[in-house]
């Protein structure tokens, strides 16, 4: 430049000497907000995290991220009531992302491709006994095994799966899918002993030389209601009915079957009865909107021809018929008898009024607390007896497969810590990524892929799956509908919209960094971040 005209002519790019960062009163910072789906997931899945990989078509990586939290995606992708989708921010934009169906696609893909879990890096030499091969027990066993512990499951029954097998009809969860996912856990080196009912937990632990135990025996005893009956033989409980459907001999319920209750189990039974050629009538004492069953299940049941009598209680059960009393809701919303009666044909009555836990194996264990028929556990899932943990339907919680899987994971982490003489402190939850944190302009308008439904007739007459899965094209489509709430998905907006080039792009998978020497703090990056993973914080001046 020496020979160039003084001052009039300048060297290129020399403005780097001018550090405009000093203008700033607020600075942008990258953050991960907790996506509402992740927050809502009882199994603690990193949904946004695995969708991120599914979006790029890397299904195996997506599955691997998924199974860090849940070893049963194919099952969960079918039976989970997907609170994630209810929480999904996209629901406020068009309709929520079909997370559940993508999960199922990934689960099925894993089975199809024979993906295996990674073996633990090292073994710990510790032995853990898991009692019960239901979702909670399988989940705990899986997580413990991946942490390097030696795990043995003792299952009272002849088959694994617990309520996934004995409580959920085949049309919702085909058994080959369940078997495949259980087998994959066993392939990790988990030992599973069938027909091994643990009668005394302390004894079993001592006999097997176990360092800790996780109890997940579930709740299998159907609740009875006091119904005056001339002949009680045609009154059965829902759990038994569903369990017997697993066997060769289908239960003999007759043509007219009254199902008593308004939960998902009642619906499952009624729909199963319909498939067996019966004529189910659900009797429930309150209204549809008060029923604990998911509305979409009620809707599907009604579409299949299941009759439902709302605001009715069974007063009397005789052979071939029952008497119901009409109810009405008082101002507080509780059903009150009206004195109006009606008779219904009924070859049998199935009670779907909930289940109790068989706590016999815990007899004599000191320090245990049982309340409302369930075992009390601390926040680390440990019972009052050190080294014995419990989860699933046998502890106070919502009784779903997903919650159970979550319990298994949580318990495994605490057991692992306990075995090392430490305690497990979960990381503090990030702030929730709310809809208002998003800039939805950047998302195209796309409609939810409607899962192909089997036609009505087929659904009513067989136990084939009601909902078909996504194929690869629409799974990809569905995954890409994710808004990635609160978590950078490398859209490059911050990098692009900065008028001061004050954002460094670190390369694929590495995200971005601010060049605070030049950032003037205009806030454009925050405003134009689609997913809300940047925020402004005051500068210390």
């Amino acid at each position: 430049m020496a020979n160039k005209p003084f001052a009039i002519t300048l060297k290129p790019g020399t403005s780097l000497n001018n550090l405009t960062g000093s203008w700033r009163s607020e600075r942008p910072v990258y953050l991960d907000r907790l996506p509402p789906c992740n927050n809502a997931c009882p199994a603690g899945e990193n949904i946004q995290g695995w969708l991120f990989h599914a979006e790029s078509g890397d299904y195996e990586q997506a599955w691997r991220v998924l199974v860090q939290d849940n070893p049963l995606p194919a099952a969960m992708g079918r039976v989970c009531y997907h609170p994630c989708e209810t929480a999904c921010n996209r629901g406020q934009l068009d309709t929520s992302v079909g997370i559940n169906s993508v999960e199922r696609f990934l689960g099925d893909e894993a089975i199809k491709r024979g993906w295996k879990f990674d073996a633990p890096a090292a073994t710990t030499g510790k032995k853990v006994l898991v009692v019960g091969a239901g979702p909670s027990g399988l989940s705990a066993a899986y997580h413990l095994a991946r942490m390097g512990h030696q795990v043995e499951i003792q299952e009272a029954g002849p088959l694994a799966g617990g309520m996934m097998r004995f409580g959920i009809p085949k049309y919702r969860l085909p058994r080959d899918v369940l078997d495949a996912e259980v087998q994959r856990i066993l392939d990790l080196g988990v030992t599973l002993k069938y027909d091994s009912k643990v009668a005394n937990i302390q004894q079993s632990m001592k006999d097997g030389g176990f360092d800790a135990a996780f109890l997940a025996v579930g709740a299998h005893i159907g609740k009875r209601a006091m119904i005056p009956a001339g002949d009680a033989s045609h009154i059965v409980d829902a759990v038994s009915v569903l369990r017997s459907m697993e066997g060769e001999d289908k239960p003999m319920l007759g043509r007219k079957v009254v199902v008593y209750g308004g939960g998902n189990t009642a619906i499952d039974v009624a729909r199963s009865v319909k498939r067996m050629g019966g004529e189910p009538i659900i009797v429930y004492r309150r209204t549809r909107d008060k029923a604990p069953a998911h509305d979409f299940e009620i809707e599907e049941a009604l579409q299949e021809g299941v009759m439902i009598k709302w605001l009715s209680t069974i007063k009397q059960a005789e052979v071939g018929e029952i008497t119901v009393e009409k109810m009405e809701l008082d101002e507080k919303g509780f059903p009150q008898p009206t004195g109006e009666f009606e008779k219904l044909e009924a070859d049998s009555v199935v009670l779907a009024l909930g289940q109790d836990v068989d706590l016999s194996l815990l007899e004599g264990v000191p320090g245990l607390e049982v309340k409302d028929g369930v075992v009390q556990v601390a926040s680390n899932m440990m019972t009052g007896f050190a080294g014995i943990f419990a989860g699933g339907d046998m502890v106070p919680s919502e009784r779903t497969v997903t919650v159970a899987v979550g319990h298994g994971k949580k318990a495994a982490r605490h057991i692992d810590a306990w075995l090392r003489g430490e305690s497990y402190e979960p990381a503090a939850k990030h702030e929730i990524a709310e809809y208002k944190n998003l800039n939805t302009w950047y998302y195209s308008d796309a409609h939810k892929t409607v899962r192909p439904m089997l036609d009505m007739i087929r659904r009513q007459t067989s136990f084939d799956e009601v909902q078909g899965g996504l194929d690869e094209t629409n799974a990809l489509f569905e995954a890409r509908r994710c808004l990635s709430c609160g978590n950078c998905f490398e859209c490059d907006n911050c990098y692009g919209v900065c008028p001061d080039n004050a954002v460094i792009k670190l390369g694929p998978g590495k995200g971005f960094e601010f060049k605070y020497d030049y950032c003037k703090g205009c806030g454009l990056c925050v405003e134009e971040c689609p997913c809300g993973s940047i925020k402004m914080v005051p500068e210390d001046i």
Binding site: T14, S56, C482, N501, K505, E527
Partner: protein, 335 residues
């Protein structure tokens, strides 16, 4: 319009980049090696639309010309904030001569390149709305008429911002500026006849005319790159909000550009040889108030002494743009 056929539902085609796209389909701005034609350290205000628009445009032109580019700059904010002695932000050969002659200087540069047989080196001229639609208009028209091999880019922030926010012929009716104060019977800028330089450019029949905003990078880059593939006189008019002059939040720069387009206030289109060849459809039509309210320059239209008749008049202008350019699509298709 932005030739993006793959639809990514997560990111759409609206974000700057997209890890899901192949390298060829990515925007220039998303590239780690983009030229950053205007380097950090420039003295533009926080959230400056012009600094952003200029980097978008010049980086795209750099990419398309294989970095064989010379820029000519009219006097104005862009010039002042980028080259105060002793530092320059520009990373390409750049010259500033005067307020009103950027188009002519560019003609001269193009002529020199032609005579020297440097056919690979291309020329862009750039200026603000004052330097383009007012004082530089004569030279601009001359350059168009001769069909000189220059891409002229106007960064329109609708007033003379560098001198302290005075009215230009691109200032919208009712807007407050230092020379159109919100006082008297008809506060703010007058309802004149307007002056659409893109349309005037089209009347010259030049090969390419386009409008764009900083809110749609891909469209902007597509247009700059398309223009750079052509020869002869080309004109791109880029809408660049000015937080200082408009009295808007520095983080609203892109939002306001988006709203200008979504309300129909700023029609986004392209034309070849005087004929409109495509328009960027409105995706989610907004009433004009959505655009006006975040800007203090329109504050006198609302509040205690509101002027609903003026708002209605502005809405009518937007509606006329929508009709004239067919900005609303029945199918709501968008690019």
């Amino acid at each position: 319009m932005s030739l993006q056929t793959v639809k990514f539902y997560q990111t759409g085609t609206y974000t700057v980049g997209n890890r899901l796209l192949g390298p060829d389909d990515r925007s220039v701005q998303s590239g780690e090696l983009r030229s950053n034609s205007i380097n950090s350290g420039h003295r533009a205000c926080q959230g400056c639309g012009e600094a952003l628009g200029a980097r978008y445009a010049i980086d795209a032109a750099m990419a398309e010309s294989n970095n064989q580019l010379i820029a000519v700059n009219a006097t104005g904010c862009l010039e002042v904030f980028s080259t105060p002695y002793p530092e320059s932000s520009w990373q390409l050969p750049w010259i500033h001569s005067l307020f009103g002659n950027a188009a002519a200087v560019a003609t001269g540069v193009a002529a020199a390149l032609k005579v020297k047989g440097k056919t690979d080196v291309r020329v862009v001229a750039q200026g603000g709305d004052g330097g383009t639609t007012d004082i530089g208009f004569g030279c601009l028209s001359g350059m168009f008429e001769r069909n000189d091999d220059v891409l002229y880019i106007c960064y329109d922030n609708e007033a003379y911002m560098n001198t302290g926010v005075q009215r230009s012929s691109a200032t919208p009716p009712t807007a407050r500026t230092a020379t159109t104060m919100p006082v008297g019977k008809e506060p703010g800028n007058v309802f004149g006849q307007g002056k659409s330089v893109p349309e005037i450019a089209m009347a010259h029949g030049i090969p390419y005319v386009a409008t764009a905003t900083v809110a749609d990078l891909r469209d902007l880059e597509y247009k700059v790159r398309k223009a750079m593939k052509m020869h002869g006189a080309r004109y791109i008019h880029i809408f660049v909000p000015c937080p200082l002059g408009w009295g808007s939040a520095s983080h609203d720069t892109i939002k306001l550009a988006r709203l200008a387009k979504e309300t129909g206030m700023f029609p986004v289109f392209e034309a070849e040889h005087g004929e409109v060849t495509s328009v960027l459809k409105i995706r989610n039509k907004q009433p004009i108030e959505e655009y006006l309210k975040p800007q203090k320059r329109f504050a006198h239209l609302f509040g205690k002494h509101a002027h609903p008749e003026m708002v209605a008049h502005l809405q009518a202008i937007a509606d006329r743009n929508i009709r004239k350019y067919g900005l609303l699509d029945e199918e709501k298709a968008h690019g």
